[in-house]
């Protein structure tokens, strides 16, 4: 999406973050811009990027967030694929007869790592049957987990006990049945962790620091073959075995990816929700600002010289199916709590913005195939508008940069937004007026920075 907004035009999100329009959300219920940093993210499903099997969060937790059937290359981390081989072997019933024996092994398409490198036997079936990688310290990790679970439980019991006893002091009579609720809760806290986990945790011991450490592997100091040792990335991606040599690499189960949905923190409505099926790239709800807010782009910037007035050309595009009236307001008028302009310290130049309202026609998907006989809208100021094509309008304005570098202008985009209200069978349109601060960094267009 960088093609559309190569970090030139940034909209200011409600939270103050500067983001290009295509990564912003637009909450239809609060009528405000939201960005990835000021919405709540929720994990919908976990899925395997290779076989696209999907599962719920608890299931994924049980499976330790990996796919049980797919494996990844220990060298480059991409999914391994299955290759078949056929070998002629003597038949079991009649050793003089040769039969074709099909066997499968896994291989990395990129670096050609294969299960033969790990000296694993070929499998008779195309998928499955591969041993799951057992971490060398698995038991110890399990022990520690159980131990800390019990510690956490005890801490919670103590904390709740304190709270309940405090509360109980106030409720002398049980007029409202509150005491019984509290008592029930108190009872529920008495539930102790399972016997097995208690047993495991009892065996837990504190780790001891040792002064004796292993020597450096001699191969590294004497005869080093750079092709046989692992690089830092391979070691970090296999933290449990930390392989030093390529021959020590072991394939691991492919990690699951998640599908996330975004929700407005203020009103709790969903801003984006994808379809559950991991194979689908469609959305059930997609409130991207790109589809609702007029977008500003920079069309032309001449060579910028400090102190000289130049004309720049912008375009405004209306992505909605309703006409939009746009006004460009100066940044300074913004009622900032800390005084004018200080909210946007990156603005170095104030443009002479066109006065009056500009009307952007609605987006018409079918119009693209028609003859583009575009009539100018008489309501628009002809001295400002440079061209009109469908739902897009070109406008010009003068700027006088104070310096030749880091020229950034700011404006407030005031536009109408047609909101559809559905109440029962009634469909009503309501026209709102929204204002978004927009920052345009023109230094990308400076002649000397463009490599011709």
């Amino acid at each position: 999406m960088e093609i559309f907004f190569p970090k030139v035009v940034n909209y200011v999100c409600t939270c103050g973050a500067r983001k290009p329009l295509d990564v912003l959300f637009y909450c239809k219920h609060c009528f405000k811009l939201r960005c990835g940093e000021c919405v709540s993210h929720e994990v919908d499903t976990h899925y395997c990027p290779n076989c696209l099997e999907f599962m719920t969060s608890p299931e994924a937790r049980v499976k330790k967030n990996v796919c049980t059937t797919c494996f990844e290359c220990p060298c480059c981390g991409i999914a391994l694929y299955s290759r078949g081989t056929s070998k002629q072997v003597p038949s079991e019933k009649d050793p003089s007869n040769m039969v074709v024996n099909k066997a499968y092994y896994l291989m990395c398409n990129s670096c050609k790592w294969s299960t033969h490198d790990q000296s694993l036997e070929d499998q008779p079936t195309q998928s499955g049957g591969w041993p799951r990688l057992e971490a060398p310290n698995q038991d110890r990790v399990h022990q520690l987990c159980e131990y800390y679970r019990i510690v956490a439980h005890q801490e919670k019991v103590e904390k709740d006990k304190k709270r309940i006893t405090q509360k109980c002091g106030y409720y002398i009579s049980d007029k409202y049945g509150v005491a019984s609720v509290a008592a029930k809760k108190y009872m529920s806290l008495q539930v102790t962790p399972r016997k097995e986990s208690q047993k495991v945790a009892a065996e837990c011991f504190a780790s001891k620091a040792s002064e004796v450490v292993d020597d450096l592997p001699s191969d590294f100091l004497e005869e080093l073959n750079i092709d046989e040792v692992t690089n830092i990335r391979m070691r970090l991606s296999n933290p449990d075995i930390q392989p030093e040599k390529m021959s020590m690499l072991k394939m691991r189960n492919l990690k699951l990816l998640t599908k996330k949905s975004q929700r407005c923190k203020e009103c709790g409505h969903s801003l984006r929700k994808s379809e559950y099926n991991p194979g689908s790239v469609k959305f059930k709800i997609q409130l991207s600002a790109y589809y609702h807010i007029p977008y500003v782009r920079v069309k032309q910037v001449p060579n910028l010289i400090a102190g000289r007035e130049v004309t720049i050309e912008l375009t405004l595009t209306n992505p909605t199916s309703h006409e939009v009236a746009v006004e460009l307001l100066p940044m300074e008028e913004a009622n900032t709590p800390s005084g004018s302009g200080l909210l946007f310290p990156e603005v170095t130049c104030s443009p002479q913005l066109p006065k009056g309202t500009l009307y952007l026609p609605a987006k018409d998907d079918t119009a693209e195939y028609d003859d583009p006989a575009d009539k100018m809208d008489d309501r628009n100021d002809k001295s400002v508008v440079t061209f009109k094509r469908l739902n897009k309008l070109g406008i010009k304005m003068q700027i006088t940069p104070k310096q030749a570098e880091n020229v950034a202008i700011g404006l407030r985009l005031k536009h109408t937004y047609t909101n559809l209200i559905i109440q029962g069978d009634k469909r009503e349109y309501e026209v709102l007026s929204l204002i978004h601060p927009v920052l345009l960094n023109l230094s990308h267009f400076a002649k000397n920075s463009i490599s011709a």
């Binding site: 060298c75 990129s110 670096c111 092709d227 046989e228 390529m246």
Partner: protein
């Protein structure tokens, strides 16, 4: 167009059992071994010295094999030159794979069982030892154990199917009329 090409380039020697499509570019002194398949739009350019291609090689579409030196470029057996690769190496062993859009420079001598991964580049002055795999965006290297694959089933299929859709260059014969390379 294919017809005239064979006439104007008498230096091309095509062995019996190979499948060389006429719609490829063969320049200079080129020998093509048996069971080798040359796809259309492939380019084999022997600009000065000859290029000698062994048995069971596959040269795919838009692959380029160039010899700019005086000495001959000898290519061994069972190599695969995938779509769009540019190979200028000064020697090539057996069972190598040059994946799509890979590049091998003129100062490289390739051993056997090597793979130059898709879009990877080897352009230093060096001898690429046997069984080296060059892979990934950073052209990382590693040794691969089982790299001695042959694409025999694919060659069988191609040599059967390609003649149905393309004109192929007829194999040269000795003066006595015997087939070359079919022994």
């Amino acid at each position: 167009m294919g017809d005239s090409k064979q006439e104007t380039n008498p230096k091309v020697l095509v062995a019996q059992g190979s499948t060389v499509v006429r719609d490829c570019v063969i320049q200079g002194e080129v020998t093509i071994g048996t069971r080798t398949v040359i796809h259309p739009t492939a380019q084999i350019l022997a600009e000065k010295g000859p290029i000698i291609i062994g048995e069971g090689n596959i040269v795919e579409e838009k692959a380029k094999i160039i010899n700019r030196r005086e000495e001959p470029l000898v290519i061994g057996n069972h190599n695969t030159f995938e779509v769009g690769c540019v190979v200028e190496a000064n020697a090539i062993g057996h069972h190598n794979t040059f994946e799509c859009l890979s590049r091998v420079g003129p100062l490289v001598s390739v051993g056997s069982g090597c793979t130059v991964g898709a879009r990877c580049n080897v352009s230093t002055e060096e001898v690429l030892p046997d069984n080296i795999v060059v892979y990934g965006a950073n052209c990382d290297r590693k040794i691969s154990v089982d790299n001695f694959r042959t694409s025999n089933p694919q060659i069988d299929f191609l040599s059967k199917v390609m003649v149905n859709y393309h004109y192929v260059i007829k194999p040269n014969r000795t003066k006595e009329g015997n087939a070359i390379g079919a022994e």
